[in-house]
């Protein structure tokens, strides 16, 4: 498969159109606002990643957009329709790879793909789909005989079978081994190149950074920041932390001008060797973790250039 064949597969139409538009989306369960005033635009042809920890509201939000859940309030438009009242024709334009879908059917990979093809106006040929997700050797295997990763590939095959204009991928690589993840990424890149709009949820930062044109960091049911992966974190990205030990006590200065700070520190300690002197730039992970930690976000926004006591080191975001 050459790049040109993929991109030539579809003529580009209305390039700047908005595929998804949501405003003030709210969903409450048992008094908890799981989605709490979400605003979002996803452009046609874009790959958008919703990145956030478990329980951030990613799946609830995406299931509202898929038409699976009904929002409590707010506006939502997906491919020009209200997802709460999506018609069959609307569903035909949407592909869904949900977080956990049915695998109880006593069917082989080929049988289920052949059957689901009946639902679509213009299904991808089964053989082509099986090859695209790398299940050739498992075509005759019953679903319950597949590994977790192989089932996930089948989920993806079923999700793209109807050649959707818009594809939802809800944590598509959770449970995949590293190699299968990489292969999956290649598949998503092909779909993107062919013009499919993709909305992806993930709690893997590297996945969002690798696949998405833009990343929306979601926490507590709200969008914390939306930016291309390389711009995520804004001012925080330009900071560095200068750190050293004095009498067994760690000193840290977080600054946007590490050279000046270092010069100053060296001047003040011109008499000897500074123990464990380092200049530390935040990794994407540090930025992400501080974004989803409200207090850190506050600190980053107001004191990015000032001294503070802790570096945003890796804590478990759960």
């Amino acid at each position: 498969m050459t790049e040109s064949a993929l991109t030539a597969a579809r003529p580009t139409t209305s390039p700047a159109a908005v595929a998804i538009r949501i405003r003030g989306l709210v969903k409450t369960y048992d008094g908890v606002r799981v989605v709490d005033g979400l605003d979002l635009d996803v452009m046609t042809g874009e790959c958008f990643a919703l990145l956030g920890p478990n329980g951030a509201g990613k799946t609830t939000a995406i299931e509202i957009l898929e038409g699976f859940r009904v929002r409590d309030s707010g506006e939502a438009s997906v491919l020009g329709s209200d997802p709460a009242h999506g018609s069959r024709a609307w569903r035909a334009r949407i592909g869904v790879v949900a977080q956990s879908t049915g695998d109880s059917l006593d069917l082989s990979v080929r049988e289920i793909l052949d059957h689901f093809a009946v639902y679509h106006a213009n299904p991808r040929p089964t053989g082509e789909l099986i090859a695209a997700v790398g299940l050739e050797s498992k075509a005759k295997t019953r679903i319950n005989g597949l590994s977790g990763g192989q089932r996930r590939r089948l989920d993806v095959a079923l999700g793209v079978q109807g050649q959707p204009d818009l594809l939802f991928l809800d944590e598509p690589t959770t449970g995949l081994d590293p190699q299968a993840r990489r292969q999956f990424w290649t598949l998503v890149e092909q779909l993107k190149a062919a013009g499919t709009t993709i909305v992806l949820t993930t709690h893997y930062l590297d996945e969002a950074a690798h696949l998405a044109d833009r990343v929306g960091v979601i926490n507590g049911g709200r969008i914390v920041e939306i930016a291309p992966p390389e711009e995520l974190g804004g001012r925080l990205r330009g900071t560095a932390t200068v750190s050293w030990l004095t009498d067994g006590h760690r000193e840290e200065i977080t600054t946007t001008t590490p050279t000046a700070v270092l010069r100053d520190v060296l001047t003040r300690h011109s008499d000897g060797e500074l123990s464990e002197l380092s200049i530390y730039r935040p990794t994407l992970e540090d930025i992400y973790l501080s974004l989803i930690d409200n207090t850190a976000t506050h600190t980053a926004a107001t004191h990015a250039a000032a001294t503070h006591g802790t570096t945003p080191t890796a804590e478990d975001p759960s």
Binding site: R10, L105, A121, Q163, G195
Partner: protein, 279 residues
């Protein structure tokens, strides 16, 4: 996942998804294939009535249920009715609950499959497997216990409409009851006892006319009693009607009760049916 196959969209215009008839037909074929692949369903819904006929027929076959009516004849009627209920109500109720719990229904909901095709697929599967089951039952009853086939065209017609109405109402009540279990695991233990109690109350294993009055009254509220009585009108001689509680086969009332359950079930099921498991 190789990079060798194209998977992106290739059409130039959005096409309308296919209409429901071809999808419904494909669903009937798929459901039937799945039904015969599921061993537990085959045993407990499809083969169970045949086994019950063999057991009860062998033990009590020589005795008379009422003057001129052998127990075998009486059982064949009751077990034909039971088979219909198990394949429609019990087996459908359990399998839908399991499909919902496992996410198969949610997956279907992500496709443009027409909703009606799903229901027709299930009901069609019930009709196919019920027809097959009844055919085997008739043959077994005749070969093993000398129970004759329905004696004339009129009896065959009665047999057909009772079986059809029983299957349709049972299927719809199967859709309805599928929402009762909270998980797929509990589906059997929630749904099967309903079917089992109804079998004892409705004159399947015991002569209905000799049951306590309160049991008869409870049973008369549900379809199985009427289905069983209708089947007796097919397999028992005409004068056996005198041994019924009301002294007649009550075809009109049977049709009315089954249709009423169909309508009530349809209204309730359309309000309670869910594609996703409860949160």
């Amino acid at each position: 996942m190789t990079t060798s196959a194209p998977i992106g969209p290739s059409r130039t215009a959005t096409l309308t998804p296919p209409g429901w008839p071809p999808v419904a037909l494909a669903r009937v074929k798929l459901e039937t294939k799945l039904f015969f692949r599921q061993r537990d369903q085959l045993v407990f819904s499809f083969l169970y009535p045949l086994a019950m006929l063999l057991i009860f027929g062998s033990v009590f076959g020589g005795e008379e249920a009422s003057p001129g009516v052998s127990f075998s004849q009486y059982f064949v009627a009751g077990i034909a009715a039971t088979g219909i209920m198990l394949t429609s109500f019990q087996s459908l109720g359990i399998s839908i609950a399991v499909e919902r719990d496992q996410g198969d229904l949610a997956r279907l909901r992500t496709t443009p499959m027409p909703t009606v095709a799903y229901f027709i697929g299930k009901a069609g599967m019930v009709l196919v497997s019920t027809a097959l089951q009844l055919a085997l039952l008739l043959i077994l009853a005749r070969v093993a216990f000398d129970v004759p086939f329905p004696v004339d065209a009129a009896h065959w017609v009665t047999f057909a409409w009772i079986a059809l109405l029983g299957s349709v109402s049972g299927s719809i009540l199967g859709f309805l009851v599928s929402s009762l279990p909270r998980s797929g695991k509990s589906a059997s233990s929630v749904i099967a006892p309903i079917a089992l109690v109804l079998q004892f109350f409705s004159g399947v294993f015991f002569v209905y006319a000799s049951l306590p009055g309160w049991m008869q009254q409870v049973a008369a509220l549900f379809p199985l009693k009427w289905l069983t009585q209708g089947m007796r009108s097919v397999f028992l001689p005409a004068d056996a009607a005198a041994a019924e509680v009301t002294g007649g086969w009550e075809h009109g009332r049977t049709a009315l009760v089954l249709i009423a359950w169909t309508v009530i079930g349809l209204v309730l099921a359309s309000r309670t049916f869910r594609w996703r498991r409860a949160q």
